[in-house]
Subunit: 300 residues, 2 copies
């Protein structure tokens, strides 16, 4: 698969300012200008005061764009960040993606530059959000992850419970950084995280589903976790496939006793789990059915 991006950016028409990105594969656009430099007083750096989206770009298109945009706007509303100009953002996204066969697009929206102090400008409208788009190389996950399943580890780092932040894909990600630092074994593809109360929540970079009896179950994220776009799509599709689905509290025993376990996000889509905590899982029937349906939906 040849990616036109590697042949240079000569077809793009964004203005260039300052030094360009050092990473040969990262094209970056900040507030409409091609630059890799940002004001150090931006509240995104000072306080993690912002949110992000990670989007699969395939054949020039940002997959599931409407769902990503909807989550971004919902996150901005919850954090009190003035909504971005969706027309402008969509235009930039489409222009940035159109020549790329397979890439990852990351969008960051911060509350913008502010003075020292936690308090945002008042009124809310006086904050000028910063809009960062960056295009990255596609992560080379082994093909077998999707077909034969992965080994899932168990992280000791827990997720704090905070309903005010739960579900939002915000920039406060130290819990995930610490959790992902826990293992170096390349055979372990992902790590499961519990919240401080012992509920199973998600992987470090994925949401989790289990199949138990005839039901599809996924953790309730009202206390912590990221409400993933792929999770939302799977919940919608399960209904369409007439698979009974329930969002609920799950503990470790629920996972261990599951018939099937799978993880999802917009880049990996669906990875069945073939081993967790010394238990082998070899039934991927429902998981593969959902994955197949997902592919049909995405390529429709």
């Amino acid at each position: 698969m040849k990616d036109p991006a590697t042949t240079g950016m000569s077809h793009t028409s964004f203005p260039v300012s300052g030094s360009e990105a050092r990473e040969p594969d990262a094209m970056i656009l900040i507030d409409g200008t091609r630059t890799s430099l940002i004001n150090v007083l931006d509240r995104g750096l000072q306080y993690g005061d912002g949110l992000f989206e990670t989007i699969a770009v395939v054949d020039g298109r940002p997959l599931l764009w409407e769902r990503h945009l909807e989550r971004l706007l919902s996150g901005c509303a919850r954090l009190g960040i003035p909504a971005v100009d969706t027309g402008l953002l969509t235009c930039e996204v489409m222009q940035m993606c159109r020549e790329h066969t397979q890439r990852v697009l990351k969008i960051i929206i911060t509350r913008g530059v502010g003075g020292r102090g936690y308090r945002p400008n008042q009124p809310v409208q006086e904050n000028m959000p910063t809009r960062i788009l960056s295009l990255h190389s596609w992560p080379e996950y082994p093909q077998e992850n999707a077909s034969q399943g992965i080994i899932l580890g168990l992280c000791t780092t827990r997720l704090g419970v905070n309903p005010a932040l739960a579900g939002i894909k915000h920039l406060n990600r130290l819990e995930q950084v610490l959790a992902r630092s826990e293992w170096n074994d390349p055979d372990i593809a992902e790590g499961l995280m519990l919240d401080s109360e012992g509920h199973v929540i998600e992987g470090t970079l994925s949401n989790l589903f289990i199949v138990s009896g005839e039901q599809l179950l996924t953790p309730d994220l009202s206390g912590s976790g990221v409400d993933g776009v792929m999770r939302g799509l799977i919940l919608d599709m399960a209904g369409a496939l007439s698979i009974p689905v329930r969002v609920t509290y799950l503990d470790l025993d629920d996972i261990k006793n599951a018939d099937e376990i799978f993880l999802c996000n917009t880049l990996i889509r669906i990875w069945p789990v073939r081993r967790f905590e010394g238990i082998d899982y070899d039934d991927f029937k429902v998981t593969h059915a959902i994955a197949a349906e997902l592919e049909k939906y995405i390529h429709a």
Copy 2:
């Protein structure tokens, strides 16, 4: 009080690179270079993967520098960020402060520039931390806050519980941002935050102490909160003053029933609380004694 900083930076000798800060009162040094621009791929922005210190600069000196440095190094160790060169950092700090009568110095250390993904470089030593020093104007808090006490509000935003992050002055500060957004009334100087389990932890930008009977009490921060430099100093001084002190779990009733309540940080030092939740407090005896001792220590 005349601040030489307002007459220009001609006496400093740091190299200048890129655009300078737009804020007339912010002098910024990133990895030894005068610039206000940072690589947008820095993990400090991408994940809040770093920590900071806020230091009072008085008469050319960073107050309590050894304590700030010690906490910074301890935070780096806990997050697995390679320790900064303390000699170099101290040298930069001293040079930056020496001509200033009264300023705020903020130091941010991040894990540095990284690719997309939560996982830090392995081994840890391959991460190149970013070192950001910025000098800001002194916040003009009313003089009466320290002498007559303040009104303390109660925030509805809670602090998540996470022992892995508790105590560290890290860059994941959305909880504080949301809490500080809760009130606009200028008569309320600070807001009290509880954790998700209902324990009283701290103010949005300060630590809390109460005097109850003959004892000085302050919340246990092993689950959440920032272990402030001024809090540490007060705990040490209480011992020297022969005031019995206890670090423990406190709930709202403990605060309401206290004989005295006070808040502290390195900029405000000590603010007695004169009203909280409709209750008036007018005894500041122990609070003022500690504040007086603190001034003696700082100016010794």
